[in-house]
Symmetry: C2
Subunit: 143 residues, 2 copies
DNA sequence: CCAAAATATAGAGTTTGCTTTAAGTTAATT
DNA sequence: AATTAACTTAAAGCAAACTCTATATTTTGG
């Protein structure tokens, strides 16, 4: 199957402008043009766009994605670089997930604080009662 | 304790320029100045910076962080907004983690492909052998 | 006390990733 | 055939988050 730039834009969830911009940046080197100059996208191009989305959404800059594509075009002599790149990206994503989890804990703690404060109608009152509870705990032991 | 802008920059891992920029954007409204105009950071400011880091690294734009700080300054009348904001951020982070995981699967698959290709010394050969294996599986059933 | 290091303000410049505009050409519809 | 929708290139514009420059003042260490 083949698709117009507008169809692809809808499928991928970006604008036609963005697709042309990606092409200009060297991210879509396989897209052909019809006799009259219109871009004709294939399923292979959609696969590339899916890979681009994956790398982009995991934080790789467009330049990095272009590097990958350039390596792909260069052929088998760059297999190792490409493998290293994916391994590296894996590390980054895992680190990012770990960081997100850490931040999530802080956010959950804040949510607790604010739920308490909203219930009490006041931030200071919430802090005060929390302070008293902690003191009590310190004096008489837990539970 | 109190700290100079340079000390804080080192502790937080940003430049002094960035700290001044944050202040200009309204993200550090509690930082005082010495008689001669130098910024004097307190532990309270460090706590704010930690919160800023948390929100920033979970994808909140500086404007959103400023909104939170403005609400904080406004006082108890904005407790609900602040709670909603943290709940919203929690949702966003959880969604982001889920997306990262999905992308991680794709990346892991690619790593497998490339490990195989590197072993074989060729991408096409890898694809070819994979295709043959799949055909065999289709003809004779799994395992 | 003086030189070096750190800090101050104000404002211009940079990078990334689009987004919009202008001025057309091509394709689809009525 | 005419209109309108989608497409073309080229270039300018924009928002976010810094980053750097220039010039002046303050603090600090020997």
């Amino acid at each position: 199957m083949s698709y117009s730039i507008g169809q692809v834009a809808k499928m991928v969830g970006v604008t036609t402008h963005t697709l042309r911009y990606y092409e200009k940046e060297g991210l879509l080197p396989f897209v052909h043009k019809s006799g009259s100059g219109l871009r004709v996208f294939t399923d292979n191009d959609l696969n590339w766009l899916a890979m681009i989305e994956c790398l982009k959404e995991t934080g790789m800059p467009l330049k990095g994605i272009k590097q990958y594509i350039d390596w792909f075009i260069e052929g088998d002599s760059t297999l190792q670089q490409r493998l290293d790149m994916f391994r590296n990206q894996k590390q980054k994503v895992e680190a990012q997930i770990a960081l997100y989890r850490k931040h999530l804990e802080k956010i959950n703690y804040k949510i607790q604080m604010y739920e308490d404060a909203v219930k009490k109608g006041s931030w200071d009152k919430m802090l005060e009662e929390q302070r008293l509870a902690e003191e009590k705990e310190r004096r008489f032991g837990k539970k």
